[in-house]
């Protein structure tokens, strides 16, 4: 596989898995406004994953769905940060902030890439990510002096770039995420 396809899949895996994790707040977030916010952010992240998989799929002669759902859990390239199932709000906001910070740097690099297709998609994704960063910063400003939030940031920061090996939670998430697809009778199309 080319380096380009690997990079696309790595970023797409981050966005897909984080999107699933964010969607776990749908219906149970501590405030109605955050229920709406995390549901919408989840939808955006999964949309970004689809577009990134799509570019990789065109190169590899496969489809975005096959890349997203038909690999084994150990083949995913996402960072450990996005894999965790986080039941606490301070950890959720800490992850959101750390992820957006790292993603912003990654998008800046991709936007400057010589690969016009990659740079164009990164610029498109970045237009939407502006709103995620706004939301993450708003929560950071609100919580930055709260000891529980500061502790959550310290705890999660080392996981941002860690891509070797996976958390056990990834396998559980993969089982949920691919259950319907794996149970699909032969010959069905969605």
């Amino acid at each position: 596989m080319s380096e380009r396809a690997q990079l696309l899949i790595e970023i797409a895996d981050d966005e897909l898995i984080l999107g699933w994790r964010d969607s776990e707040w749908t219906g149970i977030a501590p405030f109605l406004e955050e229920d709406v916010a995390f549901s919408s952010i989840a939808q955006n992240e999964i949309g970004h994953a689809r577009a990134l998989y799509e570019l990789a799929a065109r190169e590899l002669g496969t489809t975005a769905d096959e890349l997203a759902f038909d690999r084994a859990p150990e083949e995913y390239r996402c960072a450990r940060l996005v894999e965790l199932r986080l039941p606490s709000w301070e950890h959720t906001i800490a992850r959101h902030y750390l992820y957006e910070e790292a993603d912003a740097l990654r998008l800046e690099e991709l936007k400057a890439s010589d690969d016009a297709e990659l740079a164009g998609l990164a610029a498109k994704i970045d237009r939407e990510e502006v709103y995620h960063r706004m939301h993450a910063q708003m929560w950071f400003d609100r919580l930055e002096n709260e000891p529980r939030f500061v502790a959550a940031l310290d705890e999660l920061r080392p996981l941002v770039g860690l891509r070797d090996g996976h958390m056990p939670e990834l396998t559980e998430l993969w089982e949920e995420m691919t259950m319907v697809r794996r149970s699909q009778p032969a010959g069905t199309t969605w």
């Binding site: 406004e33 709406v36 916010a37 549901s39 919408s40 952010i41 939808q43 955006n44 992240e45 999964i46 949309g47 970004h48 689809r50 577009a51 799509e54 570019l55 016009a116 297709e117 164009g120 998609l121 610029a123 498109k124 994704i125 237009r127 939407e128 502006v130 709103y131 706004m134 939301h135 910063q137 708003m138």
Partner: protein, 160 residues
């Protein structure tokens, strides 16, 4: 068949989620090329997570097939769509439907301080005395605002 006929046909296709506006008003049709009986359309998605994208693509293909041509709808994943591509007619249709049109895009990316400012007009009464309730809304393209003058919550198309 001419490209004008194809444009006219596409202008009849409503946005699946905001049916007051057509896919042409929305600015997602970047180009139309007619090669004999084959019609090639370049389609740029709006927000990447929008579930209406597949519906739009399929409806465009169906409409072209109804004209008796073979459709080729190419999804262009580049940065060519922004909310500035929504036509003036499209913006007016959004406003009339109670959805405040997006603010024009400036050179710098939008910032929270701008969204919190009183510079967005209520689509119902026209007052600028409106406040941000939520950056996010029921679909990826919308924020939620509240008009303090007519006490009406409304949806604001996000600028991207």
């Amino acid at each position: 068949m001419t490209a004008e006929q194809v444009w006219a046909a596409l202008a009849e296709i409503p946005d699946p989620e905001i049916p007051v506006i057509s896919v042409v008003d929305l600015g997602v049709v970047r180009g139309v090329r007619v090669d004999d009986e084959r019609v090639h359309v370049e389609f740029t998605p709006t927000f990447l997570g929008c579930p209406a994208l597949e519906v739009m693509r399929d409806q465009m293909a169906t409409r072209i097939a109804e004209l008796g041509a073979e459709p080729e709808v190419e999804v262009v994943l580049d940065d060519s769509w922004s909310t500035d591509r929504i036509t003036p007619e499209g913006r007016e249709k959004l406003r009339a439907a109670g959805l405040a049109p997006p603010a024009p895009r400036s050179a710098a990316a939008p910032a929270l301080v701008q969204l919190e400012a009183n510079s967005f007009r209520c689509p119902y009464c026209g007052s600028r005395d409106t406040g941000l309730e939520n950056i996010f809304g029921p679909t990826p393209c919308r924020s939620l605002r509240y008009c303090r003058a007519c006490r009406q919550p409304f949806e604001q198309f996000k600028t991207i």
